[in-house]
């Protein structure tokens, strides 16, 4: 069981190591209580995030994806978040066409000092996801289901 049924939704976070992951740590150190739904994947920079990771997660049944990086102009790698901003914005434009509610994906900037902002972002985003129905799911391929059934026996 990956999330607590009925209580949690699947929310995947991609956080840059230098700012936002640190901001989430700062929130923890400050004991800023947050919903438990989010699971964080640490990446070096928001520029490392291929928008297709987000698409992959959303098609794979994630109810929401939250990306956070350093504030523009404050990227540890100087420019990564500038590229990320464009790519993530384009990604946000693509989702509704596919039938994925764009509210399932947000990106923002949280610095390592902004523990409270992180708490706020996580709380708001989790609320936003809970306000939506569970993510639509594709039926598994018959092939895989057959194999899975075999494996189960």
């Amino acid at each position: 069981m990956s999330v607590l049924t009925g209580k949690e939704r699947r929310i995947v976070g991609f956080l840059c190591n230098w700012c936002s992951y640190g901001g989430a740590d700062t929130a923890g150190v400050g004991r800023f209580v947050q919903p438990t739904d989010l699971r964080i994947i640490r990446v070096p920079c928001s520029g490392r995030i291929n928008p297709l990771f987000i698409v992959k997660a959303l098609l794979g049944g994630a109810d929401g994806v939250l990306v956070s990086g350093c504030h523009p102009r404050d990227c540890h790698y100087a420019e990564g978040n500038f590229y990320a901003r464009r790519r993530l914005e384009m990604c946000k434009n693509l989702l509704p066409l596919v039938g994925i509610d764009p509210k399932r994906f947000e990106y923002t900037w949280v610095s390592a000092s902004e523990g409270q902002r992180w708490q706020h972002v996580v709380t708001e985003f989790t609320k936003q996801i809970h306000a939506l129905p569970p993510a639509p799911v594709f039926p598994e391929s018959p092939e895989i289901e057959r194999l899975a059934a075999c494996a189960g026996e």
Binding site: M1, S2, V3, L4, K7, E8, R10, V12, N17, W18, C19, Y21, G22, A24, D25, A27, G28, V29, R31, F32, V33, Q34, P35, T36, R39, I40, I41, R42, V43, P44, C45, G47, R48, I49, N50, F53, K56, A57, G60, G61, A62, C70, R73, D74, C75, H76, Y77, A78, E79, G80, Y83, R87, S111, A112, S113, E114, Q119, V137, E140
Partner: protein
């Protein structure tokens, strides 16, 4: 693979809200996990020994520790697994403290989430590969940004250790805020007497090169090999010719120029040497007042200069230097207190800042050490000090304590009595904050020996009545409104990060907090380091500090820089991009986006291919996210590793 999983209790930090033992039990079901256990303090010596023992007993070739943030203890555990013969990159951490146990109290949800985080760590670890660092040479030279007392200390310590130092100072002279002070607490010794010799040392040290009137233009490169461009602003004076004789300032006809050094107390000439002890002692032209620039004709200084040092045509100069480490010691500025219109917002001439008052008291200041009012030149008898102007005030976005105002206010009250024996000082304060050696005793002396009246409360209004000022406040101890007639009001204006600090932080690629102060790597354990290797902090650039703390931090930053550059070769982080030459189609997109120019095009059997310059790559992974066919992969954060993490979290 044979993976071992260790779930930390961190005492009750994790254990209280996460079922660590249960998570360890569940972890045994994960693929490739052959061993899982929980431990009380995994980072402690017995905890680390437990990992090492398990590695040998269970022939582990990968380890997951679920504990605190990897930003805290990843290096610790990497060293531990390495001691047991496992490559340090065959290790992953699940952050179940900062990201789980400390942010929620629901034990069921927390334990479940902790297990999930262990699961993604295991999935990633299964795709990890051993990585080995490379070694590269470094430039044994340190850049010190800011020539206040913190920067001076850092520069002298580095230089004394035999490392070359380049000091960049924005103002015409080094010395910073301390050079403006009359006396220093708690010993009331003369500021320039103790700082002056250090400034001279900077000027004379063979290992130190000083660039005044200069600012950092840009920074590129990385730890050990930074390339820094310095902008030397045009002063219209050729420093190689200027002898500092001061004749130009004597003859300059533009005598109403704003006196920056004296905080606008009095005026100066358009060409000036900011103060007698200035280092470098060179004249500088203030173009906004110089008649040559304002009116297009004058040329007096050029005529009188005995060495022909004046050059009105001088242009800014860009200078490129290589350094191995940098110390940011950019200090502070005063909060813009004019937002307080209840204090006149700058409309009343005899409501001055603490720093202006220092210049009014200083023997080398515009009044030659005789305190007098800016409005009418009379000697003030009643002097009111107001503390916390721009400190501890949420309403103007400055909630923090500036730390040293209580102390200097006491000092200024004492000095006022020394200067004007028949004067009476009043101090409105919120709390007296005087933790430091001899500090509290000092504030008591101000009250008991010098008769300063301390009134605990805020001031709500200052208004002029006749040629005096009514200061209306509250005495919270007496529970009454008080009004004091004052001849002079001194505001203990709070400090904020030096102007443009965020801009500099962006150039240095270090973080800053919402007030513009630079962020240290760890509040308690790494107060000098930043998150960018090779960049260290000193003085008030990191937060408000008094002189002893700034000096100590200057020395600490120097020690860090010396330690870094004492090694002949620096170790590179192997978490860098790598090109799979078979998949690369040579489209060059990665080359275009790389912020470090760390990818170049090479010719491989007649075909264009990308190649990563290992010593230059910093491992941001932008190229990886750009390459459509995934031919460039960031080691330790490959597509497959991240995809495995994503898949572990999805329903599939």
């Amino acid at each position: 693979m044979r993976i071992g999983v260790f779930i930390c209790h961190c005492g009750t930090n994790i254990g209280a809200t996460v079922d660590s033992a249960g998570v360890a039990e569940n972890a045994k079901s994960l693929p490739d996990v052959v061993f899982a256990t929980d431990s009380m303090y995994t980072c402690s010596e017995p905890g680390q020994d437990g990992i090492i023992r398990a590695i040998s007993e269970h022939a582990l070739d990968g380890v997951v520790v679920a504990a605190c943030s990897p930003r805290m203890h990843e290096p610790t555990f990497r060293r531990a697994v390495e001691r047991a013969g496992v490559n340090r990159y065959m290790f992953e951490m699940a952050n179940i403290r900062e990201h789980v146990s400390w942010i929620g109290k629901d034990k069921e949800a927390n334990s479940n989430k902790a297990f999930e985080l262990v699961r993604i760590a295991v999935e990633k670890l299964r795709r990890n590969r051993p990585l080995t660092p490379k070694y590269f040479p470094s430039t044994k030279r340190v850049l010190v940004i800011g020539g206040g007392v913190a920067g001076i200390q850092a520069a002298l310590d580095c230089a004394d250790a035999g490392i070359e130092v380049i000091m960049v100072e924005r103002e015409p002279s080094i010395g910073g805020k301390m050079a403006k002070l009359d006396k220093t607490f708690p010993t009331v010794d003369c500021s320039s007497c103790i700082l002056g010799p250090k400034m001279v040392d900077v000027a004379q040290h063979p290992k130190i090169t000083l660039y005044a009137c200069s600012e950092l233009e840009s920074v590129s490169g990385f730890v050990g090999n930074f390339e820094v461009v310095i902008r030397r602003k045009a002063t219209c004076v050729d420093n190689t010719k200027c002898t500092g004789c001061g004749l130009c300032a004597e003859k300059c006809p533009s005598k109403k120029s704003f006196d920056r050094f004296n905080e606008g107390v009095g005026t100066t000439t358009a060409i000036n040497i900011p103060f007698p002890q200035a280092i470098p002692k060179k004249a500088v032209i203030d173009k906004s007042f110089c008649r040559q620039f304002v009116k297009g004709k004058c040329g007096v200084c050029a005529k009188v200069c005995p060495t022909g040092a004046i050059s009105y045509e001088q242009q800014d100069e860009l200078l490129t230097v290589q350094v191995g480490a940098m110390v940011a010691a950019t200090g502070y500025d005063l909060v813009d207190w004019k937002v307080y219109s209840e204090y006149g917002g700058g409309r009343y001439p005899d409501v001055v800042t603490s720093l202006q008052y220092e210049r009014m008291m200083s023997a080398s200041g515009p009044f030659g050490g005789h305190i007098k009012r800016l409005s009418d030149g009379k000697e003030p008898k009643n002097v009111v000090f107001i503390q916390c102007v721009g400190s501890r005030d949420v309403s103007i976005g400055r909630p923090y304590c500036s730390g040293f105002c209580c102390m200097y206010t006491a000092k200024q009250a004492i000095l006022t009595k020394d200067h004007i024996p028949d004067s009476q000082s009043y101090v409105f304060y919120m709390d007296i904050r005087s933790p430091g050696k001899g500090y509290d005793e000092f504030t008591r002396r101000a009250q008991e020996e010098y008769g300063t009246q301390y009134i605990r409360g805020r001031v709500s209004l200052i208004y002029p009545k006749g040629d005096r000022y009514i200061v209306r406040g509250v005495d919270t101890l007496a529970g009454a409104q008080v009004e004091v007639e004052a001849d002079l009001v001194v505001l203990a204006v709070g400090v904020e990060a030096a102007a443009n600090s965020p801009h500099l932080a962006e150039k240095l690629r270090i973080s800053y907090d919402k007030f513009g102060f630079f962020m240290e790597s760890h509040v308690k354990l790494k107060p000098i380091e930043t998150n960018t290797a090779g960049v260290f902090l000193a003085g008030c650039s990191q937060g408000p500090k008094d002189i002893p703390s700034s000096v100590a931090m200057g020395s600490a930053a120097a020690a860090k820089a010396i330690g870094l550059l004492s090694k002949d070769m620096l170790e590179s982080d192997p978490q860098i991009a790598q090109v799979n030459i078979n998949r690369c189609v040579g489209c060059g997109k990665c080359i275009n986006v790389c912020p470090y120019k760390a990818i170049r095009e090479i010719d491989f059997r007649g075909q264009a291919k990308a190649e990563v310059i290992e010593a230059v790559c910093q491992g941001c992974g932008l190229c990886n996210a750009t390459c459509p066919q995934g031919a460039v992969q960031l080691s330790h954060f490959t597509d497959n590793q991240i995809l495995a993490e994503v898949e572990a979290l999805c329903r599939c």
